[in-house]
């Protein structure tokens, strides 16, 4: 059995057999095969071979499927959940830390009340000398902003002043140097 010299058509015969040619190509090949004895014989041979292969016994697909691994979807899903949970934990932790920091800052601010003479003329401290009032259990009443002093009535102001008298006060400003008075002592 000789071979057709049209290599392009011969190459297309297995494709025709499996329906892998488009309509135009398939028509072209069929028309050639219809008038070419060599190609017709070759196509028939290929069909016989294909039938031979088609006779392969069927496989047990159920047994194969039963042996397959499970989809990894669950792991991916749980990983996603873990990531989301981790993000929430980080956000919550951040919020708590931020809140604690702010609370600490507020407490720090409230730990001292700076009273200047113009804010509280009743307190007999020199002008321009701020006074830091250290917070203590006795002086919680002072945990208010200086601007609130204006809202106090006479009795409350009296109470505040008496409380002030019972607590220590320390000037915020650096003390004046005593070097001038001390310098003469050593010499």
């Amino acid at each position: 059995m000789s071979d057709c010299s049209n290599v392009e058509i011969r190459e297309a015969l297995p494709e025709l057999l499996h329906g892998r040619l488009d309509a135009v190509q398939a028509t072209k090949v069929r028309e050639h095969v219809a008038r070419c004895a060599e190609c017709a014989a070759e196509l028939e041979l290929l069909e016989r071979v294909q039938r031979l292969y088609a006779a392969t016994p069927a496989v047990n697909t159920a047994a194969i499927v039963a042996a397959l691994p499970r989809p990894r979807m669950r792991r991916a899903f749980s990983l996603g959940l873990l990531r989301a949970a981790a993000a929430i934990v980080v956000l919550l932790a951040g919020a708590l830390v931020f809140r604690a920091a702010m609370s600490g800052s507020e407490n720090g601010k409230n730990n001292q009340v700076v009273v200047t003479p113009q804010d509280s003329p009743a307190v007999a401290v020199p002008r321009d000398t701020p006074v830091t009032i250290q917070r203590s259990a006795q002086a919680r009443v002072l945990a208010m902003s200086v601007s609130e002093l204006d809202d106090l009535d006479a009795d409350e102001m009296e109470s505040l002043l008496s409380a002030l008298e019972r607590i220590d006060a320390a000037p915020v400003a650096e003390p004046d140097t005593l070097m001038g008075s001390v310098s003469g002592v050593g010499t």
Binding site: V49, Q50, L52, Y53, T56, T61, V65, P71
Partner: protein, 183 residues
Amino acid sequence: MEAQPDRADDRDDRTLIERWLGGDERAATAIVERHATAIARFVSTLGERETDEVVQDTFVRAFSSFDSFRGESSLRTWLFTIARRLVLDRRRAQRRRPATEPIDDVELASGFTALDSIVAAEAEGQVREAVERLSPTQREVFTLRVGEGLSYKEIAEVVGTTEGAARVHYHNALRTIKDALYV
């Protein structure tokens, strides 16, 4: 003349893979049903006697690594590649066993006789004998080309050769079969 690739089939395969990866286990059945027979056919023509086992191992390996399937080739081509590698691994393992008979071309050809009970017709028998005369590589290429309709490019991927070499193997195989049947 360029064959039109089965893009619809490829798309269906990719959809099924995505469904399975998403947790739809019914997609596994669909994938196996689409390709198991072709894989079994190919494996049997390679001379492998434990066809069922190799086919099962092929799918197990494929499903275990669908994450890495990039879809550059069709799923069927990829499955053929896995099946071929498994057959070669089994041959190497058998060679290491001293009690096992050496595997040569004659033995590989005898593996094809698994089809004896199925193919009864005289004409089919003649074709079968002609195919048996092919070298393992020729038979492999011829099976993928005629039995499965793969392109030379796809065959080259499966067999691990070039398109040109696959084309030469196919035409040599065809010549051998024609000579066996018509001389």
